[in-house]
């Protein structure tokens, strides 16, 4: 089978995906519907320097610099907070607390990673605190997904693969979902994900591997084969 390789790479197909409005069942669509404000991962030196300058200005008490950071990364931070807390109202509080924490901690930021990863780490910490104080049960591991736990009848009526996958993602535990979120929406590499989640890189890899196995299991329950996805 000849696969158009540029189609396989998320990076290559981003601009097209930005315009996608429906779920692409043929899987030519992909990744980067993720950020309205950033069409691609911007790791250029000037961008890193600019962010670092903003953090330094925040440390010096410049309010416009905090606003600029919010303009650049607010949407991503809010999205991550919503994914973790599953509650936009709580996520808004988490975002506010995170911005205050970033203001207070800016002087300690030494540019040891990308600014966005640092900010996501703060949101991660604040969101977990919010979850612990409101509904600690969310932090617990879900039980293994049994055959009867997937509402397949409801699912089948919709686009089968996409809907199954949504069910699969929803049934993942918080720690697995957060890794998928950080890799696929936030565009972090494994080291950055490990920093945000405060765990070893090996744990990040094993969470990705678990998430994949879990999703495959759900697909296979409905009779879908891995080959069907291609």
């Amino acid at each position: 089978m000849n696969i158009p390789l540029r189609e396989l790479s998320g990076k290559a197909s981003k601009s097209r995906m930005m315009q996608a409005s429906t779920i692409p069942l043929n899987l030519t669509a992909a990744v980067s519907v993720r950020r309205n404000e950033e069409p691609s991962l911007d790791r250029s030196i000037s961008s890193v320097d600019k962010d670092l300058q903003l953090v330094r200005r925040v440390a010096a008490g410049d309010e416009t610099a905090l606003r600029a950071l919010f303009a650049a990364y607010g949407q991503r931070l809010f999205a991550y907070a919503v994914r973790l807390t599953r509650n936009p109202s709580v996520a808004e509080d988490v975002l506010q607390e995170s911005l205050v924490a970033a203001w207070r901690g800016a002087a300690r930021f030494r540019g040891q990673g990308r600014v966005v990863a640092w900010l996501l780490g703060i949101v991660h910490h604040k969101a977990l605190n919010a979850i612990r104080s409101r509904s600690p049960v969310l932090l617990e591991e879900p039980e293994e997904l049994g055959d009867d736990q997937v509402p397949l009848d409801e699912v089948m009526a919709e686009h089968e693969q996409a809907a199954l996958l949504r069910v699969g993602l929803e049934s993942l535990s918080l720690k697995h979902r957060m890794v998928l979120e950080l890799v696929f929406y936030q565009g972090l590499d494994l080291t950055e994900v490990a920093l945000v989640c405060d765990c070893p890189v090996g744990t990040v890899k094993s969470r990705l591997s678990y998430a994949k196995a879990h999703l495959r299991h759900i697909m296979e329950q409905s009779g879908l084969k891995a080959e069907d996805l291609e």
Partner: protein
């Protein structure tokens, strides 16, 4: 299969676009002949799409940054205001006689220095006046209302720091005013040297007096700091000659080093900061003792 296991962990990063160019090219090459990896990539792309789709309509509420800034401003204002209030509340509790006596001694110093045209008098006097003032700012012997003060929610070290700020600040202003008066017959650069000459010793002597007052008592604190300060003005050469001291050169060398110490403002200020930290700790302990006794 070796190739396959080598690449399998990179597939999510390939899909998310976070591999570098070399890794991406190698993986693309591998994908042309590995259907298992292609299948994995397809799954990850589905996942990526779903994750992105779920976040599609989430807009960050701009009110969050405004509320965060309001909270930051509130805290900042709070800290400054609370500090100001604390200092203001301690002003009436500082011993009343400190204000006129410090001012009077400094005024006499200015008059004498003006008459004899000798500014060293001011340089010598300013640290001594300040040290004596600081030695009486805290402790039951200097503050009959201390127990009452300690019964409030404010911690003893904050009370101590507030009083130190008031008394040191007052003496600093007095010394600056006195030095400013020297502009009448001295050029500005010499007045600046004069200020540099007393500022370091004043800071260190005040901190030392405070620690000694808390550790021993006020009287001893003043005596020890004065002796320590004035010892540098001893005429070393004459003493060594008159008393036929055996280790004369050693004594003179020590005296020179000692004078050098008092002429090193950065060292003196750094040591003063350390001493103030110790004083805070001593003040805290003393406060605990008093509240327990009460």
């Amino acid at each position: 299969m070796g190739d396959h296991s080598q690449y399998i962990e990179s597939l999510p990063l390939f899909v998310s676009g976070t591999l570098d160019d070399a890794q991406r090219r190698a993986l693309e090459n591998h994908l042309t002949h590995c259907s298992a990896c292609r299948s994995e990539v397809a799954l990850w792309r589905q996942v990526a799409y779903q994750v992105a789709d779920a976040n599609r309509n989430l807009d960050a509420p701009s009110i969050a940054v405004e509320r965060a800034l309001a909270e930051i401003r509130g805290r900042r204002k709070n800290i400054v205001w609370r500090a100001f209030e604390l200092v203001r509340a301690q002003v009436p509790l500082v011993r009343g006689e400190m204000w006129p006596s410090s001012a009077a001694v400094m005024a006499i110093g200015v008059i004498i220095a003006t008459i004899v045209k000798e500014v060293t008098i001011l340089q010598m006097l300013a640290p001594m006046v300040a040290a004596a003032s600081v030695a009486v700012i805290y402790g039951p012997e200097n503050d009959p209302a201390l127990e009452l003060t300690l019964a409030t929610a404010t911690s003893p070290w904050k009370i101590l720091l507030a009083r130190l700020t008031i008394v040191f600040g007052y003496n600093l202003v007095l010394a600056l005013a006195a030095s400013g008066g020297m502009l009448l017959f001295l050029p500005a650069n010499l007045v600046a040297s004069l200020i540099v000459g007393w500022f370091g010793p004043m800071t260190f002597l005040c901190a030392a007096a405070l620690v000694l007052a808390l550790w021993v008592n006020t009287g001893n604190a003043i005596a020890v700091t004065y002796v320590a300060w004035l010892a540098q003005f001893l005429p070393g050469q004459e003493i060594a000659t008159d008393f036929r001291l055996g280790g004369m050169s050693l004594f003179i060398a020590f005296l020179n080093a000692y004078r050098q110490f008092w002429s090193s403002p950065p060292v003196l200020v750094a040591l003063a900061v350390g001493l103030v930290v110790i004083a805070g700790w001593l003040g805290g302990r003393q406060g605990q003792r008093l509240t327990r006794a009460a």
